[in-house]
Amino acid sequence: MEEKEKKKHRAKHSGPKAEKKRKRYLNDLGIGDEENARKRNPKAFTVQSAVRMARTFHRTQDLKTKKHHIPVVDRTPLEPPPVVVVVVGPPKVGKSTLIKCLIKNFTRQKLVEIRGPVTIVSGKKRRLTIIECGCDINTMIDLAKVADLVLMLIDASFGFEMETFEFLNICQVHGFPKIMGVLTHLDTFKNNKQLKKTKKKLKHRFWTEVYPGAKLFYLSGMVHGEYQKQEVHNLGRFISVMKFRPLTWQTSHPYVLADRMEELTNPEDVRINPKCDRKISLYGYLRGAHLKNKSQIHMPGVGDFTVSGVSFLPDPCALPEQQKKRSLNEKEKLVYAPLSGVGGIVYDKDAVYIDLGGSHAHEKEEEEVRPNHELVQSLISTHSAIDVKMASSKVSLFMDSRPLGSEDVGQEFVMPREERRIDLMTGRVRRKALFEEEEKENDDAGSDEEDDDEEEAAAMSEDGSDGDDEDDDAEEESDRELLREEMAVRRAKRLKTEVAKEEAVNELPAFADSDDDLEMSSEGEGKTAPEENEMEQDDDEEEENEDDQRTHEDESSGSELEAASKRVAEPKQYEINSEDTEMRSQISEHSLKRKAVLTTDSGNCTAEEASESEAENSSLDESDDEEGSHDESEAAESNRKGCQHTPKKADSIRQTKLQALEAVDDDVENLLREEDEYEEKIDFSADTTGALKWKEDLKQKAAQAFLRQQHSTPNLRKLIYGTAVEDEDRENEDASDELGGLFRVSRPDKASKQNANALDCSKFLIEKPQDWDLEEVMSSIRDCFVTGKWEDDKDAAKLLEEDEELYGDFEDLETGVVHKGKHAAEGDESGSEEEEEDGKMSKPEPEEEEKKKERMDKKRKLKEMFDAEYDEGDATYFDDLKEEMHKQAQLNRAEFEDQDDETRVQYEGFRPGMYVRIEIENVPCEFVLNFDPHYPIILGGLGNSEGNVGYVQLRLKKHRWYKKILKTRDPLILSLGWRRFQTIPMFYIEDHNGRHRLLKYTPQHMHCGATFWGPITPQGTGFLAVQSVSGTTPDFRIAATGVVLDLDKSITIVKKLKLTGFPFKIFKNTSFIKGMFNSQLEVAKFEGAAIRTVSGIRGQIKKALRTPVGAFRATFEDKLLMSDIVFVRTWYPVSIPTFYNPVTSLLKPAGEKDSWSGMKTTGQLRHERGIKLKQNKDSLYKPIVREKRHFNKLHIPKALQKALPFKNKPKNLEKKGKTPKDQWRPAVIREPHEKKISALLSALSTVNNYKIKKAKIKHREQLKEYLKVKQKEDEQKFKRQKEAKKKIYRILGQREKKRQKSSLKGSSKGEKST
């Protein structure tokens, strides 16, 4: 039994084991695998058909290349902005519920009401901005342009709705973002089979619309008014791992989906005129491309604006710091939705509302949402008035620098005004740094005096009480003046080259990385090491003079004070007269302040300065700064006063002040003086540079800079761009120039005047070329030639050596010479030597290491070479291109990485991913008044000249689902680029000869051209058209789609125009035509034009006739008839109405935002007003009545008839006429007897006929009867026969049966019987 139950072994027929066995078996047989088979039987594997082979090859290549996209440079920032997730769907499909569920899923927070975009942190590297899209077509269009991911909600119980398809079509036109379908309301299906069927049906329809295999998500049933947690979680997972393809429009334009709006208009202006244009600021993440300040933007639904200010803010919803953990902790799960009231705070247009919700509730919330709460708190504080905010905000530009407060900024704003004062009388700029010595002298002298005045004036206010000393000091002062002037002249001659250099340096303050914003404070310290050295070499007297000079040139109040303190450092020239305690305190403050300023500029600080600044008491800084602003006002005031005083008096006052300063500062600075001395001198040299000084004598300066090249590293950036604050300065200056608030003194500064008159030439002529005969000068460029020295990595000899090392020995096959690897031989030798040496020196380790390193190097090089060779093997053009793009992307990322954001922003603009605040002016008041956070606010950046308008040519196709056809000259609303606007397109089609012929209507299923007057948008941009954006219609709303082809400032659309005329005199082939033109001139213009008659006779216009006016002579190919109509076909250029009307839907009052209506079509107007179209009577359709056409006889001339062959000759057989009377046969007249006979005969024949007829009928009836009977009989007979047959067959059958039976019983017997 057991044996039987044992299972028999079954050999494996498939699987790896079987394969192995088979292989072994085949190998044993000697017919191995395919490769062997190839060897064994090469014929079987040869190419059967070259054509087929080529085809398959082509096909594979096609398939391969089809997968390729054009590689683009990856410009996504390192920290990308949040992904924009747009939730769309028809009403009541569950959009808000889904958003709430998603937010809850990611952040564990429940939002009550969602208004505007909600930004959340969804993962370690991803943030999401979720926004709901209503069914208003404006919103749909706007959001499709900014969406990265679309969640398309579909009510499964209802099926697809028009909104879904509309949105899909909008997406297709404006670049296709990722689309994910979400089926809701699946719980309404009771029948599971029905559910499955619906799902499948919807899925496939969705696939045809998006792409086959597009993800469709199912949200079954709701639990407590929310979707099932697990399903939402899964959806969230899908969203947070999704990858996005860059869309052309989005990556090439900066844009912001604003999540907060603030009004900055002056309330007074609003009070005066409630409808005045507003100034607003909008907040949001910058996306797409880099945004530059002052660039043009478009707000869909509002209009075009110029950005008046951009600044970046700390990220309100920052990604977590990089940590090595898998999930986010609760603190990092941020949500930011200022419009939605997260954490009980709602931002409205001009107010912040805090939803307290009872005292206890708030406490609880605080604990729950601590991180967010903190964030929100900070936001509340920032939301105070702008000036307050400015005042409280502090920015630290460098790591170890004192944070800059608004005071500092204010200082910066005010200071230049004082620095660059323009004398109202002469219109002369007072501060100059000139290079020609004559000018210098003059100016120095002049400015000296003036500066003195100023300083005196400044001093006035401070020590008005010190008037006593003036007499004593007056003499001294005047002496000093004289001395100084003399010295200035002397020095100017002596130091002319040096001065020039220094001046130049002043223009180009020290280091390349010094920050512009700090210039004001840093200026004082701008200097370079070489310069310092130079200065050191100068003898003391010179220093003094220079310093002296510089102090007088000094203008700014800040530097003035510095000057004051500087005096102290000077060798004692003046005696100390007074000691005022009040003064002391003041001045010590000033000196401290100067140091405080020093501390702020970390970039330019030398070590000495740093130590100095450390020494300072930092606690004093702030108070000092405040002092600074005081001082400025003082200075300004004193300036005004100073004008009234006599110069002498002022001088003396100043003198006293200076003395006081000296006395006081002496103590303060005693300690630091020694180390400070040099620096301070240089400080003053730098101080002389006004903020705007860079503008003067640029060319000379540049030339100087060039000559000076080796001595210093000039800050070229400052030379070129001046300072960042410079613009503001100019504005301030302008303001100050206003006379009585009415007129503005426009006074081009001297430098720009000079530039304007200079020769406009790009050639860079060096006035003093170097002497090229000198050897050292020559040697400076020797290395520029191939004959010169090469860099280490490119030196030919070295490279050769390396190669040798690499490849070692080789044999020249041609000559048979064996080259020994030098290295190896040397290595051996040196090795042995080394060994010996090692023995002596006992230093084996470094040698070993060196060797090892060498070996490693060699290995690495070999590998690199191999890699290069190997990779190059199958590198295609596509791969190369990709590689290139990749490199560029890396460069883009790396170039500005190490710079801080402030500087970076200046170079590349605000980069995407930043949270920015954009200020916009002149916004219509309706935007603010009718602000509704449910509608998205988008700021779309415009490229260069995209803000202009011109003629735009499109390729357009009416949408197949749109029920009407579009008419030329009917207004149409286009969505193109960021914009939505109404315009009047003209449709045309291109003829074979390139002519653009106007069409009255769009073709049904064909592309046509269209031209309109509107915003210039780059070629290749897609657009869509709708006829109206207001209200809802059951029909499909998208009227047409297409793409921009061309932009131009003129257009060439023509329409056909036929001019008709009538012949009034006809000669043979020549006719005189009238009625076509109105003057001889017109005719002259058309001379030689081709004309035609309606019947098709072609001709040409020849010449105008004198009378009637406008008539002309024309020749034709045949003679005309008087009834002919002649026409000439002309092409008339069509003018396009310059109508461009942006759709300002966001300006409509709340609740009516979807009811924007622009220009109406003529049809609509006519319908509304009940105006019937007056039709041309000729155009009406009437029943056609055709007259019978009468043709004349064909007449063949006799001569022709004769010539014709007989068969074609007209046969002149006349019809047989009536037989003439004479040919008539005679009538027969019968006799009465004969009459009788014939009557009898006819009577008899009638009777006979009747009889025959009767007999016939009878016979027919008889026959019928007979046939009937016969049929009956036949039937009976057939019946009988059938029965008989039946009988017989039955019998036969029975017999057969019997026989079979008998045969079964005994065959032999049966056989016998038959």
């Binding site: 000039p714 260069n944 070629q1019």
Partner: protein, 302 residues
Amino acid sequence: MNCYSVHNFEASFIRLIDKVTNGSRIEINQTGTTLYYQPGLLHGGSLEHDCSPSRSIGYYLESLLCLAPFMKHPLKIVLRGVTNDQVDPSVDVLKATALPLLKKFGIDGESLEIKINRRGMPPKGGGEILFACPVRKVLQPIQFTDPGKIKRIRGTAYSVRVSPQMANRMVESARSILNKFLPDIYIYTDHMKGVSSGKLANIAGESCGPRSHQQILQGGCVDSTNQSLALLLMTLGQRDVSKVLLGPLSPYTIEFLRHLRSFFQTMFKIETKTPEEEHMGGEKVLMTCVGIGFSNLSKTIR
């Protein structure tokens, strides 16, 4: 005509701009002191222009070089006037330096050329050149920081209406100076029977040596004349980082950089490289910028 009004050559330049554009509006008032210009779209096509003889063709050609790649139709223009003078960069210089520079930006092809049909000297001119340039939709970014070594020197010595021997003498004198550095020197002599007269002496030959030395000392990857062209094309590139190594910036370039900032809001990152770092010649400046993503709005797509 006072010094503030529009000069002859400027008027001619305005006319040239009018020719290459479509839809631009130009108004100059009676005294010629105010100029109103409303830009149109660059059109291009086959054109001819008579330049004012008070400036050489180089003056006009420089601006055309900036505009030509962004036309609607490829530009093919015949310019007549002074081909070489002492003030502006000569046509030969532009041909030798600007065209290779354009090629770096992806503006290449057979149709990019400057052909000198006739030479014309001041004061009367009479020269004629043909400038043709293809059209591009976008420009490539460049990384042009390695000037390389000078391998050979090629030059042109031209003479007009003087003995051809003059040109040969010029060549000799130039060679004598340049030979100190490099043996591979070839200077073509271009003797034309000019239509118009002009004067020329062999001083040119001797000064050309030091001039070129000066350029080599100064020079980065781009010579001083074309600095502005390179910077403009970098600015008008795609939104990518471009780099170029220049010699000391000329005053013209500095002014140009300011214009670039006011027009495009672009600032260049400027780094100075000392000769020790670069091993060659004088001080160099590394200019880096991000393109503004300009695309040719005039070009038609089919």
